[in-house]
């Protein structure tokens, strides 16, 4: 891997404006921060469900991470297996390349995957193993692609890892295959990982409008479909922070136009579908999209009516990563929920601008982590609900704040029109649960009022 390339890389892909003002921020020591680049790279590539994912390093990186994200598969499950070379101290001293080679051979022989992704870790990057060479040699020998993913934890944040994974796809996967001649070419969905099955909702919607999905990068993907991603007519970047660079590179390399969009909220969904049809330059498709979105929005409007009544004026603090910050705001606004605080720690400059477009001046930006910072905002802004990820969930419970999970552990799909309906239902359900009243009232023999009046 080329060392110390981060800053240059940031300026290319970390947002279109003012990279100097806000490059991918380096994590600050001594704070409780999120995942590392290795984590990020795995997150991006693990949803390629039929491939094998082998972690080259000590047991920690695989032992602590396998099968811990809710990215669903409609078929193959090889991606769910935790493969690791489990390096020990003698491997650190004498090198783990032989072990890696043997591991690749074993996986190829036993599981016959269409491809093997090999992830470097802090240790193998530091001991200077030539993973690229081992992978290349193995690929030649066993006849299937063996893709090195050079994203050791220490190079930076999870977001950087997402992008390094995108790099690996560009370098080793995209453009290496061709679709069947009769394949209907359409859109690549980039940065959508099929958490809780959201990809399936999106795909169904696109199919209804007659828009084909060419490659899923990477929610519920098959290795093969990514090899011909370069034949798509449009790229939609669903999570910009993660893989915008990939779309930009594909634009310059293959001339595929891209746009950044989201499927959270009816407006964003309609915009995204329209944008696809527009970029495909197909009038008939545009008309179909218009008919579909009108119909869906009308239906949704009807179905949402009772929830809007219940949710109007409710106040939420949203603490999540990157793209979700701004796009979930849109969804919440449509439900009448006011976002009074929003996390921006993983957002690009563009993302922050989008947030600003969508919220009023009265919204507090929460730039960095730490549970207490989020809780403080909830208290000060008198929020009714906290919308965040698993690591903050239990803090919300301690503080007796209604909560819904918006990150990778969630079990509800919130994308598209139906997703918005589901979000409305979940919000209502979470707010209405009798446990909050119970929790907020003191024990009968305890006269003291609870610390927070809601």
């Amino acid at each position: 891997m080329d060392p110390l390339r981060q800053d240059e890389f940031d300026s290319q892909a970390c947002g279109s404006i003012a990279p100097k003002a806000k490059p991918c921020p380096r994590p600050k020591p001594g704070e409780a921060v999120g995942g590392c680049s290795f984590d990020g790279a795995q997150i991006t590539l693990l949803p390629i469900m039929d491939a094998a994912h082998l972690v080259h390093g000590p047991i920690a990186c695989a032992g602590n991470s396998w099968e811990s994200r809710g990215t669903l598969s409609s078929g193959p499950s090889l991606s769910q297996y935790g493969f690791a070379t489990d390096l020990t101290d003698s491997d650190i001293i004498f090198g783990g390349e032989k072990k890696l080679k043997d591991s690749i051979d074993y996986i190829a022989g036993r599981f016959a995957p269409p491809a093997i992704f090999v992830y470097s870790t802090c240790v193998t990057a530091l001991t200077g193993e030539d993973m690229d060479a081992v992978c290349k040699e193995a690929a030649d020998r066993i006849g299937i692609p063996v893709i090195p993913v050079n994203s050791p934890g220490f190079v930076g944040s999870k977001n950087l890892g997402n992008r390094l994974a995108g790099d690996a796809l560009l370098q080793y996967v995209i453009g290496t295959g061709e679709p069947e001649p009769e394949t209907d070419l359409g859109v690549n969905l980039i940065g959508e990982y099929n958490i809780a099955g959201e990809m399936w909702d999106i795909e169904k919607l696109m199919n209804s409008a007659g828009i084909a999905v060419t490659s899923r990068i990477t929610g519920d993907a098959r290795y093969k479909e990514i090899t011909w991603a370069h034949r798509a007519r449009v790229n939609m970047v669903v999570c910009s922070r993660a893989l915008l660079g990939l779309a930009k590179e594909m634009e310059s390399r293959y001339g595929i136009p891209y746009f950044e969009g989201s499927f959270y909220g009816a407006k964003e969904t309609t915009y995204s579908l329209r944008q696809m049809a527009y970029l495909m330059n197909d009038r008939e498709m545009e008309r179909r999209v218009d008919r579909l979105t009108e119909r869906e929005e009308a239906r949704l409007g009807q179905e949402l009516r009772p929830y809007r009544k219940l949710l109007r004026g409710k106040r939420a603090v949203l603490y999540t990563g990157g793209v979700k910050s701004w796009s979930v705001i849109s969804a919440l606004k449509e439900l009448g929920v006011q976002v009074v605080g929003v996390g921006t720690n993983k957002s690009t400059e563009d993302d922050v601008r989008r947030i600003a477009d969508r919220v009023g001046d009265d919204t507090e930006y929460i730039p960095e982590g730490g549970a207490s910072r989020i809780i403080k905002t909830v208290r000060e802004r008198k929020a009714d609900i906290m919308i965040a990820g698993g690591r903050n969930m239990y803090v919300a419970m301690k503080e007796q704040i209604p909560f819904i999970d918006i990150n990778q552990e969630r079990h509800k799909a919130y994308a598209g029109y139906e997703g918005l309906l589901r979000l409305a239902k979940e919000l209502t359900y979470s707010l209405a649960n009798p446990i909050w009243k119970l929790a907020a009232s003191p024990a009968p023999w305890d006269k003291e009022a609870p610390p927070y009046d809601r």
Binding site: G30, G35, G63, G82, K398
Partner: protein, 519 residues
């Protein structure tokens, strides 16, 4: 609004709808081009004895690991002390994993920070990160002690924690008196239990040394009555409560060294604090003058035990997880011996009740073949429990079982335990194997029940064996850790869990003619 009115479908029911099924069918064109027959053949082969042999000759790749790394154990250990902030020296992702892992198991927040080392630290060393990290975390989280452990990265580049912490003091980032304990925990050696041990030893030795107190075992303030107790890498907060109940019944004074139950079983009061409970820092040096130390995970706490019997020159009794009637008997006899106090009548009575319960259930347990996966000390306890109930352990996998205590290896002790019972004759103990090995074992030599962590659920499902979740981590069931599994009460809990799983199986797989009301 009720759930029914809302009609929320989760992804188990939603995606069974026709249109999603259709969508999945359409996607098959992208999948590896082999026929359904080939897939079925490959699957069948993976379940065969021939493959099992190949699987067991596998040397170089781990498939579905059943161990976590050292620093994860260290974070848990650090949370066992009053107002102590776990501080992980390395790149940031490790810490994020530990926090998720522990929070998913306990369903509680895990305060822990990282030095977030990046490439420049890899080249120039992590000293600046450590110094900045100390400054930031002390300001942000206001701990009374910081407990630093290392990760692979810091170990590979050879960072010297002692001198770095010294430099932080020289730079005035922390005061000379501010306590900072540390330990070295590279993940390429040992497992989460080794890391737990390293941090406990790190904290005990650090706080003892800096206190200047001399060790005179048995001369403590409570005139030698106080007992030190260590539970080890303990995934059950309920076990702490159970142990307190037992020690309370004995009416002995005691100090639990490393008590994370406060942090992982705190009430929802409406205000989150970073620190709940834990061993008082001032109690640690005093512990050197206790009457004796009782360790409940002898393989886990190897180095700490050596330290206590060595430097503190203290009497030490080391057991494995006290589970089952005999396991608990040993625990009570040991406490009685160490303190000179008689076993309280209340516990004898409880013993009788649990023996009664075991008798009630024994027809459903006898001869049940069981597979076990876990940490070494837990497994010794579980094997003992199985044998005394007439269940037959068949497959036993201990990924991190390459440990010994007093030169007795875990594997040898487990095998001796099994050999001493007619119910243990079929058992094989596999050390260093993973859950993919266990899958082969479950498929080729059927058992009635698997006992292990949530990670075992994949293999158990493939083999259609019911899984009783015991150990760490348990991600997919709620509140298991709140129920003790040690002591007589814990034995009763475990018994209920197992026997009712078996009874549920009976009902689920019942054709009808013997679908009975009374079992």
């Amino acid at each position: 609004m009720s759930r029914d009115e809302l009609n929320i479908k989760d992804n188990t029911s939603l995606f069974k709808e026709e249109r999603y099924v259709q969508q999945r069918e359409n996607k098959k064109q992208f999948e590896a081009p082999c026929s359904e027959q080939e897939t079925a053949e490959a699957l069948a082969y993976s379940k065969s004895a021939e493959y099992m042999e190949k699987n067991f000759s596998r040397q170089n790749v781990v498939i579905n690991p059943h161990k976590a790394c050292q620093p994860l154990g260290s974070v848990m250990a650090a949370l066992g002390f009053e107002k102590t902030l776990p501080f992980v020296h390395g790149s940031q992702g490790c810490n994020a994993y530990f926090r998720s892992h522990l929070s998913r198991h306990f369903k509680e927040p895990t305060p822990s920070v990282s030095t977030s080392m990046t490439e420049d630290a890899a080249v120039f060393g992590g000293m600046n990160n450590l110094i900045d990290g100390l400054e930031n975390s002390v300001a942000l989280y206001k701990p009374e002690m910081v407990a630093i452990c290392t990760t692979c990265m810091a170990e590979v580049i050879g960072d010297d924690l002692n001198s770095f912490i010294g430099n932080a003091r020289i730079k005035g980032v922390i005061s000379e008196e501010y306590p900072v304990a540390y330990c070295n925990t590279p993940s390429f050696v040992g497992s989460h239990i080794t890391g737990y041990d390293a941090m406990i030893k790190g904290i005990l030795s650090y706080l003892y040394t800096r206190s200047g107190i001399e060790s005179h075992p048995g001369s403590g303030a409570e005139s030698g009555e106080k007992l030190n107790v260590m539970l080890g890498f303990e995934p059950y907060t309920g076990n702490f409560a159970e142990l307190r109940k037992i020690l309370g019944a004995f009416d002995t004074k005691y100090t639990i060294l490393g008590d994370h139950s406060g942090n992982y079983d705190s009430p929802a009061t409406g205000e989150y604090e970073y620190y709940y409970g834990g061993t008082k820092l001032a109690d640690v040096p005093q512990a050197a003058n206790a009457l004796a130390t009782l360790s409940l995970q002898k393989y886990t706490l190897k180095k700490t035990q050596e330290y206590i019997s060595g430097t503190w020159n203290q009497q030490l009794a080391a057991l494995s997880t006290p589970l089952g009637i005999k396991g608990t008997d040993t625990l009570l006899a040991t406490i009685s011996e160490l303190t000179g106090l008689p076993v309280p009548a209340m516990l004898t009575e409880e013993r009788g009740r649990v023996v009664d319960a075991l008798m009630d259930s024994h027809p459903y347990l006898h001869g049940k073949r069981v597979a076990l996966v876990g940490d070494p000390d837990l497994l010794i306890g579980l094997i003992g429990f199985c044998l005394e109930t007439g269940m037959e352990p068949v497959h036993i996998i201990c990924s991190n079982g390459d440990v010994d205590y007093n030169e007795v290896k875990f594997k040898d002790e487990a095998e001796a335990l099994l050999a001493a019972s007619p119910y243990g004759t079929e058992a094989t103990v596999h050390v260093g194997k993973d859950l993919w090995h266990m899958r082969s074992l479950l498929l080729n030599d059927k058992v009635d029940l698997a006992i292990g962590s949530s990670h075992l659920k994949f293999a158990a499902k493939d083999a259609e064996v019911p899984l009783v979740r015991v150990g760490f981590p348990i991600f997919d069931r709620h509140h298991m850790h709140r129920y003790p599994i040690i002591g007589y009460q814990g034995t009763l809990n475990l018994l209920s869990l197992i026997v009712n799983t078996i009874l549920q199986q009976l009902d689920d797989h019942n054709s009808g003619f013997n679908f009975e009301l009374v079992r």
